[in-house]
Amino acid sequence: MKMLPRSPALPLCGLLFVLTLGLSIGWLDRQLPDTLWLSGLFDPDLADPRQLVVHYAWLPRLALCLLAGAALGLAGMLLQQVLRNPLASPTTLGATSGAQLALLLATLFAPSLLAGREWVALFGAGAALGLVYALTWRRPLSPLATIFAGLVVNLYLGAIGSALLLSNPEALKGMLVWGGGALAQDGWDGVQRLLIHLVPATLLLPLLTRPLAVLDLDEASARSLGLPLRHLRLLTLTLAVFVTACVVSVAGVIGFIGLAAPSLVRLLGVRTLGRRLFWAAALGGLLLSATDALLQFVADGGGMLLPTGAMTALLGAPLLLWLIPRLAPKKSMPGASGSGLTMRRHPRPRRLLTTLVLVLLIALPLALFVGQGSDGWRWAGGELWTIQLSWRLPRLGAAAAVGLLLGLAGTVLQRIGQNPMASPELLGVSGGTVVGLLLAGLLLPAAPLPLLLTAGVLGAVLTLALLLGINRRSGFQPERVLLSGVAITALLEPLQSLALANGDPRVQQLLTWLSGSTYHVTPTVTVALLLLAVVALGVSVLLGRWLDLLPLGQAAAGALGVDTRRAQRWLLLLVALLSAAATLVIGPVSFVGLLAPHLARLLGLVRARAQLIGAGLCGALLMLVADWVGQQLLFPQELPAGLVATLLGGAYFMWNLRRL
């Protein structure tokens, strides 16, 4: 115990401990007279409902928080160590969403499997991590590539989950409460289940600590010490995933603890691996229990369900934003600044762009007139022609316009940040729009539409400003910018989970919008959006020179007469406007803004102007197809275009990610 008093992590843990203890005592004090505390905690008189609640609901919940938080902190630390990646965590590597999706699928299609929830969750988490691993096969352990693949897998699995929730709302309402990480307990069952699985896992740790610690050196020296790196890695990964799966199956989805606890411990400067593991577990447990105690104290007796797991994300996001600029400086990752992504250049970009326009022109009438109706598949003729034209044209037009806007926004972001992973959704610009809109809607229920729209645009602008402020000092290192974006997007989740867990019937509508549906688009909006898209295309092509020069660096660009600061600011404002406009109409669409610029690049459009136009056209085409597929696939039900775009685009993107 000699290491405890001097550890740099002690003050923070102590603070959280005092907070948890104080809140717990405060809560107990409300519940029971202090003469009954001991019996309530350990030897309850079951006829007294107050003691019953203390013993079978409150105390197991506290124990569960400590255990689950510690387990997540431990899992995060193991992942960070073995992947040598300061951003690794069960959440950022897709393990959590894999476990969640597996449980969702089991609930729907094979409920008998749920007897072994842990194993279902383990399978899902393992499969997700396996996918991430497969995607980064060529560049094992490149931290940025790994995290990026993890985020992509996360988005993808999340999209499948949303599709299931949208089409089975009644059957899955229990999953919504669990998915928010509601920690209410009904006895010691959950704690026991967690303990049974965690104790053997923890016993393995001392065996792993020493070899893992060698990874603090670089890989070559580790290998020269004769370590079977591959086996070590596999064993550690399996252990971390197992621990995560156990937590998810018992306590639901708890965001951010697995990232925040290890990152904080590292940041506070705890040196050796053994201590880091210890303090990550301690901090994780205390972080979760303090959050939970706070929520219980605040929400006591209210009619609203506040799922703790979702709320940790609310607290974790600002923490992470604060933390990013303080991460120890690291050299930029190879492959991150575009060098690994250079593509064959198309000899005749003009011709290629013309072809893209032609494809779009052929796709439009097909999408308009082919489809299912009351008598199955058909080509609409006669009267049906008018019906389909009047209903589909506005939707397809809006989808295409949104695709174009996001393609442009994505290209601009990727070029100025020299960050191939940048996109409006990953940088949190779309998320910021939604947060602005939701907050305005919640705080001013009677707000008129223009005010709501302004709030949305303001959200986008503020998000970008925040990103700029946080990352100015680090010189916009792709990794950090991306991480800040993820943290901002994470602010959205608690708001959403809160609405979902409380089962308001209006939630379905919110969910529809959040997954990017063109259902509510009116012809006027479509016309406005198309006009905006054309103007935006013109403006960004005009600014194409900036985009060609900015990646050369401040000095070179300055020498060629470009004020980089000013150029950046204007371009970012443009991005904010474009993505806010797209988001306001059909919700935060994932992947299109990320995918379209890559598609253009893969096609060989390398120069800024050509890439901009190409990305715009690819985005439009993708959304057009997505909107059509979404309406035909489950006819007469429909899937939102944004969701389909994620599923289509994500699959293609992962395929290419593997090749990069």
Binding site: P49, S167, L305, G503, Y519, F635
Partner: protein, 281 residues
């Protein structure tokens, strides 16, 4: 402005009702249920498969067309079906303007939105009957249900206040209180609802079961379906098994009833509840 549309609808419907049943589409299950109670088969309903498992009775005829999600009815399909009238609940307010391009749309409110639930049900049922030109059937339906409720009320044994809940998982329940159909039926049966806390405008609160520990002399009514595995896990749940109300009066289980339903769902609930209460030890 409502009056004019109203007359227009009547004008459209009157000649039709002489020849054939009106072609009425609805996205809402409660409206569909009440329509069937009035003897009119809806032309189209949203999510027919889910209707069969969550509302069940009265059964939808096989000819009723599925028009997709209730929140997003397939408008191309609706336009192709050419209904004479589309009926929606206030939840669909956002899509009324576009639906109105297909056929006249009428909004019927079956939940009370904070007012007297049963009075609202009565009024909407009669309104629906008038729209369908089935005024006599509407009155008959209400008379039948209300006299049945009255008869049940007269013969019920005395019972402690009832707590109506539906399990979301083994640790969370929806409790039905004021502004819910079930509460309105309890009132007509002369029974007391044990849940007097706020339940929001949808008539239910989502709570974890430790919040139920303070209830004592209360008869628990569990409305099925139970989510998968909850039965077994409740049997092992120390908290649930030791809740004062559960120990004092063993919970009674009722078969599934659509909790946001109309008078027919209310009648079914009353029947099942009375049956269960009479069988109580």
């Amino acid at each position: 402005m409502n009056m004019r549309r109203w007359l227009l609808v009547l004008f459209v419907l009157l000649p039709l009702s002489l020849h054939a049943a009106p072609r009425v589409a609805t996205v809402d299950w409660t409206i569909a249920e009440t329509m069937l109670g009035l003897g009119v088969a809806p032309l189209a309903v949203g999510e027919t498969a889910a209707y069969r498992s969550w509302v069940g009775q009265p059964a939808l005829p096989a000819t009723t067309v599925d028009i997709g999600l209730r929140t997003q009815p397939n408008r191309e399909l609706l336009a192709e079906l050419k209904p004479d009238l589309i009926l929606v609940s206030p939840l669909s307010a956002g899509i009324v303007p576009t639906l109105a391009r297909i056929a006249p749309v009428r909004t019927l409110r079956f939940d009370a939105g904070g007012g007297d639930y049963w009075a609202q049900l009565r009024q909407s049922t009669l309104e629906l009957a008038t729209l369908l030109d089935r005024q006599a059937a509407g009155k008959a339906l209400l008379d039948r249900v209300e006299s049945r409720l009255a008869a049940q009320a007269a013969t019920l044994p005395t019972t402690p206040p009832l707590l109506l809940l539906q399990f979301i998982d083994e640790r969370h329940v929806r409790v039905y209180g004021r502004h819910s159909l079930f509460d309105a039926v309890l009132a007509r049966l002369g029974l007391r609802n044990a849940w007097q806390a706020d339940t929001g405008s949808w008539g239910f609160a989502t709570v974890s079961i430790d919040r139920l520990a303070t209830l004592d002399n209360v008869q628990t009514i569990v409305i099925e379906p139970l989510p998968v595995g909850v039965d077994a896990r409740l049997a092992r749940s120390a908290l649930w098994q030791n809740l004062p109300m559960v120990r004092r009066h063993p919970p009674l289980h009722l078969p599934a009833v659509w909790s946001f339903g109309g008078v027919l769902a209310g009648e079914r609930f009353a029947d099942q509840l009375s049956l269960a209460l009479r069988g109580r030890p």
